[in-house]
Symmetry: C2
Subunit: 317 residues, 2 copies
Amino acid sequence: MKVFTEAQVKAHYHMSDAIQDIEHLFENMDGISQTTRVVIPTGDGAKSMLYMPCVHLGKQQGIIKITSITPDNPQHHRPTTQANIIITDLETGEHIASLDGSYLTRLRTGALSGIASKYMSRTDAQTLGMIGTGGMAYEQLLGNLEVRPIQKVLLFNRTTEKAEKFLAQVAEKHPDIDFEVVSDVSDLVKRSDIINCQTQSTTPVFDAADVQNGTHINGIGSYRPEMKEMDNRLFPKASQIVFDDLEGLKEEAGEFIEADEKGLFSFAEHDADLKGLSRQGTVQRDNDSITIFKCVGAAHFDLAVALGAWEKLKNNE
Amino acid sequence: MKVFTEAQVKAHYHMSDAIQDIEHLFENMDGISQTTRVVIPTGDGAKSMLYMPCVHLGKQQGIIKITSITPDNPQHHRPTTQANIIITDLETGEHIASLDGSYLTRLRTGALSGIASKYMSRTDAQTLGMIGTGGMAYEQLLGNLEVRPIQKVLLFNRTTEKAEKFLAQVAEKHPDIDFEVVSDVSDLVKRSDIINCQTQSTTPVFDAADVQNGTHINGIGSYRPEMKEMDNRLFPKASQIVFDDLEGLKEEAGEFIEADEKGLFSFAEHDADLKGLSRQGTVQRDNDSITIFKCVGAAHFDLAVALGAWEKLKNNE
């Protein structure tokens, strides 16, 4: 068993790789087998262990992502979520690699937003508005930068200092982009071509009335029924709503669960998924319409990036 | 994440440790939380991945055992079953260690037979009969040697050459024990104080009529409904039948599932488990009676030995 740290994975596997590997998986999902994730509570509140196994019968490789959720951790300057991915060669039965899974999880989630923006946002989208500048934000930025000619990035966070800190970090890495912290989320929403939400808010982080025609929104924050970062009054106005994983959505995406109950949206009548868009391969949108992508994640996305990263890493030891 | 190979685990963690750690766990099972194991088929027949997570809330440590079953492997001189155990510190959320799990699985299974022999067999048991000398056999031998004054070990295998090869290997390591390969299983059964079965046989490997009063039998081989290594006609004659894990037994132990159907035994009326015997701590048997222990394994046994091994290993790097 070879162990690769976050720094090693980061050095050899990037956003462009993740987008490519996930879209490649979308082309042929035959032989992907996974179970519903296993959750074992390990303390108060959300403290828990999550286990997400997935195998690729064609490639004869399997992974399991093992994730700890430790809500108290930020007080101790440790991340809330820590993931590890074990890869097994199904041909020989050997457990061949352990990859730090935290970066790969952020990367695949950013890649999913990137793929959504690639097929759903206006092709000339130049302004990205980011609501939430926490742990998931940087790879969300990267996903969008990869697919659209973004020149301006507006940043909003409930605690403005955190948005300013994020700006300081990313401005250095991306000198060609104009970053700006905004204190009024309404201002951000009105000025953005793409809005990317990554919060764990239990109430909407923007007002549906502020969303301009022509806007595409990615929502990746809500992953429990009580989380509702997107204003679901927007859903009836959207020309296209796309999911990464419908089954997960029904269980986890609070704003959609509520919208389904209130009649603002219907799971039963819904069948548009990111895989379909990716296979189609073309942007099909009216430049004036509003489009929404909601992501909750699934084990096969972890499989795509873990196997992709392993391919790079094993040749670069 | 620190990685420990089979050789490293073997060097620092032994049968006496495993027996002690499992009996220690039996004393207090509060705060042990596990799910039913997850199985994903990965090819023809039994080819599959098994995932067995378990957490210890009191110790704030969790494990998952990841096992690949590759039935073709022996043809390629690789083991059929390969296991890896990942340990997570639930206090910090960190994934701290990867332990080769194959030896630990064999060891904990040997320890369970050892604990059963410790509380169920005659205290003066001197002759051990082993039916099956495959991959699990050596730790089964160790478990019995640890708890009883065994002087004579009879070995039977369907393919006699394999029993002879096993003898050559173990005789060197245990010069004080008299090993003997027998070609007639009936001879072995009649002469043994303890019989230990570790086969995957779908038909009984001994005849109930040959079992002498005073014999204790450990059966660890059958782990699927079609496997029936113990002659279940013996069950009505047994004064005591004890399991390691009743719920697993009902799903997996072929000879007991069949016995329950035929009325030779009743799961519904059964409640004797190894934990109860260990807590009681005394041998309660008539020297003339026949006793049976059946083991299928469970994730909390893996937890006991993995955490025990980790304690030793982290201090011996």
